[in-house]
């Protein structure tokens, strides 16, 4: 294969009827075609398809978490707090922002835009939620952070130390945020906050023996997180 002229020459003299030379170069073309095809489909599947699969969206206003965490008194809970009935407020409403941002505080363009477009017009900011779960999922922040004594970082990563909001990527087929499937298209997970799929929840639930009360599976019951 490496040097077809060497092998074809003696063979040709022995039996002129056979044409092994064209056969082996044809084989090489097939193998080359296969290798290129494989490489092309790998690129298609691992790079192009995932890029096409997710549509990228910018948040309506850029937000500097690092700056705000220093300014507020109670860490994450200052804006992402529990309501009295035990439910979690999630992303803050304009009400929390207005306490400080009734007028422009700093010098950034984003803040000026936030004040003129949302605060002055009294419009809620349509924040895109990175950790939005499908609507068949029940998630209790109280059960995890109070009863389970977990940190925000365990699931949400170091968003609290970021200067800018990341680009929100949404799966064009399912409509779910990329943070659910995770950045890594192969599903490889290095940190606890890399992914938010059902298996990631159950992995911890089994380890921590959380309501492993299912009669069918003798593991976690589905009704713990599904609704």
């Amino acid at each position: 294969m490496s040097n077809p002229s060497d092998t074809t020459q003696p063979e040709k003299s022995e039996s002129p009827a056979a044409t092994p030379g064209t056969e082996s170069s044809g084989g090489a073309v097939v193998i080359l075609f296969f290798i290129f095809g494989l490489a092309a489909s790998m690129v298609l599947g691992w790079v192009i398809f995932p890029t096409l699969l997710y549509s990228k969206k910018k948040q309506p206003v850029d937000f500097n978490h690092a700056l705000h965490v220093v300014e507020v008194e109670n860490g994450c809970q200052s804006c992402h707090f529990f309501r009295e009935d035990g439910t979690f407020s999630g992303r803050p409403t304009l009400e929390s922002c207005v306490t400080c941002h009734e007028s422009v505080q700093g010098a950034t363009e984003e803040e000026a835009r936030f004040v003129s477009q949302y605060v002055e017009k009294n419009r809620e900011v349509p924040w895109l939620v990175y950790a939005q779960q499908p609507d068949c999922v029940f998630f209790s922040h109280a059960a995890h952070t109070i009863k389970g004594k977990m940190d925000c970082v365990t699931c949400h990563g170091h968003i609290g130390e970021s200067d800018h909001l990341p680009i929100y990527e949404v799966n064009r087929i399912t409509g779910y945020s990329r943070n659910i499937w995770g950045r890594n298209i192969a599903g490889i997970k290095r940190n606890t906050w890399d992914r938010m799929k059902m298996d990631d929840c159950s992995e911890c639930h089994i380890r921590e023996n959380v309501r492993q009360a299912s009669v069918q599976t003798e593991k976690g019951g589905c009704f713990v997180c599904h609704k």
């Binding site: 529990f82 009295e84 009935d85 035990g86 439910t87 499908p134 609507d135 068949c136 029940f138 209790s140 109280a142 059960a143 109070i146 009863k147 023996n209 959380v210 309501r211 492993q212 009360a213 299912s214 009669v215 069918q216 599976t217 003798e218 019951g221 589905c222 009704f223 599904h226 609704k227």
Partner: protein, 271 residues
């Protein structure tokens, strides 16, 4: 079976048939609470989805002895002969329906169900319903759906969940307040609270302080069979061990709860 800390609960109901007027408020409250779909034409009741269904019983006699009784029927949340061997759970090939040994609630996971309907065939109470169509909510009604209950899609089975989302939300509040246990009144189903006659009582059958326990007096040695002679369960002799108890002062109503051979004596009632 592993058990988390805290006592094992067994949520159940006692429905007082003497009080039930058959008004159907429980059915309406249930549909609104649980985003139960309906169609334009509901004339064929075999296709209707009613997690809570009020049945009408008659004693079959003519005037002046004719009597009727209304019997609301939610999912019976059967425990079966041994823990969790309910008719539906034991046949489900998809693990879409499950028995929770902590609460005693039979769950139904719609995203897991693939619609084979074995459970519907297995359920002796007709408490399970199949979605033959995707739900269509007229006008702006979609905005009125409860975010606490996921709407179902075509091709899955659904049934009463004892308003499990209410348990979840009550637990959230309890956790925030640093408690592990719920008060009796903190977790009540929608039908219980809606009943204008106060015929439905809901609570933990394992807890002697709860009203359901006092009314039904479940016998732990006989699979929860009621010790109160005026209380019965539907199809007791199938050993489904349901958690819905019915109270009636009338003998013919209590007899209507099970199938009897024509001349079977009263003493056979409890085998």
């Amino acid at each position: 079976m592993k058990q988390a800390h805290g006592k094992t609960k067994k949520f159940g109901m006692v429905i007082d048939l003497d009080k039930c007027t058959g008004c159907g408020t429980c059915m309406v409250a249930c549909m609104a609470e649980n985003n139960v779909p309906f169609r334009k034409d509901e004339t064929d009741k075999r296709l209707s989805i009613t997690w809570m269904q009020v049945y009408k019983l008659t004693n079959g006699k003519s005037y002046p002895d004719a009597e009727i009784c209304y019997l609301p029927r939610p999912c019976q949340h059967c425990e079966g002969h041994h823990s969790g061997h309910s008719p539906c759970v034991s046949v489900c090939p998809a693990t879409a329906t499950d028995y929770d040994s902590e609460t005693g609630i039979v769950s139904q996971i719609y995203t897991r169900c693939f619609g084979c309907r074995y459970c519907m065939a297995a359920c002796p109470y007709h408490a399970r319903y199949f979605n033959w169509w995707d739900p269509v909510w007229p006008g702006d009604m979609e905005k009125y759906l409860s975010p606490n209950v996921s709407p179902r899609m075509r091709g899955v089975v659904e049934k009463c969940s004892f308003c499990f989302h209410r348990y979840q939300l009550a637990m959230e509040k309890a956790i925030l307040e640093g408690r592990h246990e719920l008060e009796e009144q903190e977790y009540q189903t929608s039908c219980t609270q809606a009943c204008p006659a106060g015929a439905i009582t809901f609570g933990d059958l394992n807890n002697p302080e709860h009203k359901v326990h006092q009314l039904a007096q479940p016998d732990p040695h006989h699979h929860g069979r009621p010790k109160n002679p005026k209380v019965f369960r539907l199809l007791e002799r199938l050993h489904t061990n349901p958690k819905i108890y019915y109270f009636s002062s009338k003998e013919w109503v209590r007899r209507a709860g099970d199938n009897y051979v024509k001349d079977e004596s009263k003493s056979d009632h409890h085998e």
